[in-house]
């Protein structure tokens, strides 16, 4: 006799429909009336299959239908009988083909943002005695490495980062030209992007970026009073007035790729709605993405629990606006929603929180290889050198420690398919271990994933054609 119980899933509703987010598979199913009723009965504890069938039969359901609904729920693992499922530990294939290389073309910066993870109080970088600017030889070797280590991938990405990227713009330019030639010879498609604080944008640079379809992300924290509270020059002067006209010029001229603003939220900068309105409507960014500052909890700019709740409330409000746009088939620029919806639509189930050390690597000015741009120039996290490649044993150690199977706190969390413990860098700053789960964000992540699931459900119920926008994202 089978005794059924609920298995792992997160129920949610949207557009008058009921849905299940299955864990750990990441599958999203809409419930029919009978399967919904079966799950409701099981909420109160285990039930024998025969009892359930008899109960529903008494209510007038044909036995074959009830059996069928139970079988479907069991097969997709929304309900279970007998021993618990144990997911086999799946490790990524090695060596994993590269997709993205982030070149920190300089570790120098003309700003002194107080929260900077590269220069601030929680920095990991140990740049002493290392080159401050990447040279052409290292950049070329990096391009060769990316092309050589990406077998089977048709599309690859090169991202330029800093320090302040535009302090080494000549190298960016040379590298793009070299990478184009090499990619063409290798039969690959390569695209480019860079992140900058915007202070050094000049008409000729903007022209070049537009002509060469270089994706641009501007780090900017909103209107003047918010941006200038922490994004300052070395003399303490705010950077907004310098950046604003340059950004307007960039947005006017560069229309070949969507231009994004990336906002760092701190205890002083938490007015998400105001920031979004300013960057999207007043300045005209195509997309705006927000991330809380990475810091140890003792810093003045660290966001406490109340701050996170406040942010989630505003994120929810903005996500609601995104939904209204989506139902009208319109673009909305809140990229935190579109990124999460993209992951939910594909049904991603991550064993590692991100591609760092796997399909993505960072290269510092010295040629040292790091798991991502945030670990560049940190001796502790060095994975190799661009001239000799990745040290596979160090890489394996980094990936093993970051694997979901090593984070017991995550094993009972329904949000683990999308979170997988969270950012390695955040974990290292908080807990001194890249493989530690980011426990200070658990409630936030679950809250936010639930908001996005409800948005997803409503779109799936009311305007399913909109979800096709997510079909081709991030494929190569």
């Amino acid at each position: 006799m089978s005794v059924y119980r609920l298995a792992e899933f997160h129920p949610f509703s949207g557009g008058g429909k009921e849905f299940l987010y299955l864990v750990p598979s990441g599958g999203i199913f809409e419930l029919g009336p009978l399967s919904s009723a079966i799950l409701r009965r099981l909420q109160f504890g285990e039930r024998a299959r025969e009892d359930l069938v008899a109960e529903f039969k008494n209510e007038g359901h044909p036995a074959a239908e009830i059996e069928e609904a139970m079988e479907e729920l069991e097969q997709c693992r929304a309900i279970a009988a007998g021993a618990a499922f144990t997911e086999p530990i799946q490790k990524p294939p090695t060596p994993f083909p590269l997709q993205t290389l982030v070149l920190n073309v300089t570790n120098h910066c003309n700003l002194s943002c107080k929260y900077c993870y590269e220069y601030g109080e929680d920095r990991l970088a140990t740049p002493e005695g290392k080159p401050k600017f990447m040279n052409a030889e290292t950049a070329r070797a990096s391009v060769d490495y990316l092309i050589g280590q990406s077998p089977g991938r048709r599309a690859i990405h090169l991202t330029f980062f800093g320090g302040e990227t535009l302090l080494n713009f000549p190298l960016v330019r040379q590298t793009i030209e070299y990478a184009r030639e090499r990619a063409q010879a290798a039969g690959k498609y390569i695209d480019f992007s860079l992140t900058t604080n915007g202070t050094l944008l000049r008409p000729e640079i903007i022209e070049y970026l537009a002509e060469n379809r270089v994706g641009v992300t501007i780090s900017l924290d909103g209107p003047r009073e918010m941006n200038d509270s922490l994004r300052v020059f070395k003399n303490g002067q705010g950077s907004y007035d310098i950046i604003e006209p340059k950004v307007r010029e960039l947005l006017k001229r560069h229309t070949t790729r969507p231009i994004a603003a990336r906002v760092t939220l701190t205890s002083q900068v938490v007015d998400v709605l105001k920031i979004y309105r300013h960057l999207k409507n007043d300045l005209g960014f195509h997309e705006v993405g927000f991330a809380p500052v990475t810091t140890s909890p003792i810093r003045l700019y660290a966001i406490g629990t109340n701050g996170l709740d406040h942010i989630l409330k505003q994120f929810t409000e903005l996500a609601q606006e995104y939904l209204e746009y989506a139902l009208r088939d319109q673009h909305h620029g809140f990229s935190n929603v579109s990124d999460t919806l993209g992951e939910l639509h594909s049904g991603i189930s991550k064993a590692h929180p991100c591609g760092a050390g796997l399909g993505l690597l960072g290269v510092g000015p010295s040629g040292d290889i790091a798991p991502c741009h945030r670990f560049v120039d940190s001796d502790t996290h060095k994975l190799g050198h661009i001239s000799t490649g990745v040290d596979r044993s160090k890489q394996a150690d980094f990936l093993d420690r970051g694997h979901l199977s090593r984070k017991p706190e995550c094993h009972t969390c329904w949000a683990r398919p999308v979170c997988s413990g969270g950012c390695y860098h955040e974990a290292y700053v908080r807990y001194g271990d890249t493989g530690h789960a980011n426990l200070h964000y658990c409630d936030w992540i679950r809250g936010w994933t639930d908001v996005c699931l409800r948005v997803y459900g409503q779109i799936a119920a009311c305007n399913p054609a909109f979800l096709r926008h997510f079909d081709d994202r991030k494929e190569s």
Binding site: G27, I28, G32, S35, E65, E72, C76, H345, G347, I348
Partner: protein, 114 residues
Amino acid sequence: MKHLRAVNRKAVQIEEYLAAAFGDVYALQQGGSPSPPRPHYPLGCSLVFSPGWEVDSAGGTAGLCQPVERDLYDCYLSCFWPAQVPDHLNNYPDWTSKCASATKDWRNIDLVFP
């Protein structure tokens, strides 16, 4: 699936996997399956009245609607059941090519030597 609708891409993959892993195999003798019936096309003498195996109302074979000589190779084309005739799919596609009319040409059907 009838009581669940796959919404995202992973759910579609799960549904396809389950259809392949648990989809029913239909045999002729099975009936009353809980899954919705899928079309299948029975072939052969067990379901199709094949009078070649019978005698006519007078107890002879002259009045049958197919010549009695067709018995010689009835299993060859129409039956799924393995019988002592050459297989026409792989090895002996031309076994009956010289037998346009069973009553007249049945002697042209010869033995095969695998």
